[in-house]
């Protein structure tokens, strides 16, 4: 056999290998193609046609012009920014602490983050509903302590939504942050102190920049998950805090307005994919969901 024949044989083997491997991934790809990509393509189409099937931009114009739609988008962004900000405020110090614990304390601390992470979203939302209700534990405790005389309205409103969402989102902030902080070599901090840096200066000059990738990943992840969040705002918002996902749901289930639902869904999807695209530069997307 001459060299050209051998090369041809190798090429043939490689092609067969490639096709074989692709076949293995095929069932998964077919499911995603049929149940995810095809419906998305159809939603895209629906968002550009009216009921007679004529091309129109009316559905997108409605998002911009209708004050109700615009308010929903503004509110969604407002809540998403607020929850993300709170998650950073709470998540950063907690991740910092967790990354420095050792032995059994580290295991306990991490377990207390991971157990809620893996507990059903619906169960956690329900727990908040129970805690925050009129005669719930929090109101009763505050009354018993004499801090308030009348029960506060803590749920079925804006604040209930924010608290519930924060609880769900916090692990998504902590886990990437923790992972990036755990990789920081603390000898660098010791070196900084040896060179005369005070603790605060050393933190901002050495530790913080090294944790920034994790912080960006956690921040973008929490933000993007907030944008499309459905269950928790639906239950804890009590129908008064309408977010984008609820606008989609209502247009489909209450008004059968597929055009309106599709356009909102497409705008939401584009926003979410853009954030994921940015996120991917800080942390490979598959790593983001690694813990869950």
């Amino acid at each position: 056999m001459n060299l050209a024949d051998q090369e041809a044989a190798v090429m043939r083997d490689e092609r067969r290998e490639r096709i074989g491997l692709l076949t293995l991934a095929l069932p998964a790809l077919v499911i995603i193609g049929l149940l995810l990509l095809a419906p998305l393509a159809w939603l895209l189409y629906q968002s550009f046609v009216d009921q007679e099937g004529v091309w129109t931009l009316a559905h997108y114009a409605r998002i911009w012009n209708d004050p109700g739609y615009r308010a929903t988008f503004v509110l969604t962004f407002e809540i998403s920014f607020l929850v993300t900000g709170l998650a950073i405020l709470i998540g950063f110090p907690l991740s910092y602490l967790l990354s420095q614990l050792t032995g059994v304390w580290a295991a306990i601390g991490l377990a207390l983050v991971i157990v809620p992470f893996w507990t059903s979203l619906l169960v956690r939302t329900y727990a908040w509903l129970v805690l925050l209700q009129r005669n719930g534990l929090i109101n009763n405790t505050l009354i018993d302590l004499g801090l308030i005389s009348e029960p506060l309205t803590l749920v079925h409103n804006y604040s209930g939504t924010v608290v519930g969402m924060l609880h769900i989102m916090l692990p998504f902030m902590i886990l990437p942050l923790y992972a990036s902080m755990k990789r920081i070599d603390l000898d660098l901090m010791r070196a900084a102190s040896n060179l005369g840096a005070g603790p605060i200066y050393a933190f901002w000059q050495v530790f913080f920049p090294l944790s920034r990738a994790g912080l960006m990943a956690g921040t973008l992840l929490v933000f993007v998950l907030c944008l499309g969040f459905y269950i928790t705002p639906e239950i804890l918002g009590g129908g008064r805090t309408i977010m984008i996902s609820m606008l989609v749901q209502r247009n489909v289930e209450l008004y059968f307005e597929w055009g309106a639902a599709s356009s909102v869904a497409i705008v939401l999807l584009v926003m979410v994919l853009v954030v994921f695209w940015v996120l991917n530069r800080f942390l490979a997307v598959e790593r983001v969901f690694g813990g869950r």
Binding site: I31, I32, L36, Y96, L97, L112, W118, V123, E286
Partner: protein, 272 residues
């Protein structure tokens, strides 16, 4: 004087007591709502109180003696079990393909395969609702399992990929050069060594299906509602203590599954 140094700087434990305070409060915030539900579910009262004035099992009794709840439980467990059986092999096969394929197009396929986790669930749900309405799959177990398989596959894929990355593929090559075919080599050499990842992936698939709400809201209904759909409907109207009983059981289930997955993963780490 510095009694100890922390975090690589000359800060004593006492000086950063605020950090411990914030950390403990944050951990309490995370865990408290979950653990408070369990004792409340044993309350005798129609109103959920903590601590309950009298203890009873009436809400558990109510759950287990209700035909509707039992039917939903059966549907949810069947769906979760079937999802696990379908999603695990599909996810492992895809992971094997991605791991062994050449680098260029793999990256794109991988993103495609974890797309179900990136697209907001409400959009996935209305898309499925549309497709299923035309394919007459609304309200069927087959449709539910298929949808949950799509949602669970990415987790199996991610966990299996991580497992494969810690495995030396040359071992499989050796097995093949000694005469086994690819499938035999995979089943007898590779699979036993990545088994902890596969087990963890399967458990995650099970719980993904069991906990899934939004898709079930759209594609199941009436007598065929899943447990979570029925819970969702019930707690939009009133705070039924039966939900506390179900929630407690779901918490225990998640806890057991995470623990099992962690133990499987722990074995893997020890070996490598």
């Amino acid at each position: 004087m510095f009694d100890d140094t922390t975090g690589g700087t000359l800060v004593s434990h006492r000086q950063r007591i605020w950090l411990y305070g914030v950390g403990i409060l944050a951990l309490l915030f995370l865990i408290f709502p979950i653990f408070i539900v369990v004792p409340m579910s044993f309350s005798d009262s129609r109103f959920l109180q903590f601590p309950p004035e009298a203890w009873s099992l009436r809400w558990y009794d109510h759950f287990f003696s209700s035909r509707e709840w039992m039917r939903s439980l059966r549907i949810s467990l069947t769906a979760a079990f079937c999802t696990m059986l379908v999603a695990t092999p599909l996810g492992v096969a895809a992971a094997y393909a991605l791991h062994n394929a050449n680098a260029r197009y793999v990256r794109h396929l991988q993103v495609l395969l974890i797309m179900p986790l990136m697209v907001p669930i409400i959009i996935v749900a209305i898309g499925l609702f549309f497709v299923y309405a035309r394919a007459q799959l609304v309200g069927t177990m087959f449709g539910l399992v298929l949808a949950h398989t799509m949602m669970a596959m990415p987790f199996v894929l991610i966990v299996s990929l991580a497992g494969l990355q810690g495995f030396d593929m040359d071992q499989e090559k050796v097995a093949r050069s000694l005469g086994w075919n690819r499938l035999q080599s995979f089943l007898r050499v590779t699979l036993p060594q990545i088994r902890p990842s596969v087990v963890a992936g399967a458990l995650f698939a099970f719980i993904t299906s069991l906990d899934e709400v939004v898709i079930a809201l759209f594609i199941t209904g009436g007598p065929n509602s899943t447990l979570t759909k029925r819970m969702f409907t019930a707690l939009r109207d009133e705070i039924d203590p039966t939900i506390a009983a179900i929630s407690s059981m779901l918490i225990i289930t998640s806890l057991a599954i995470v623990l099992a997955a962690a133990l499987a993963g722990g074995k893997r780490r020890k070996r490598s």
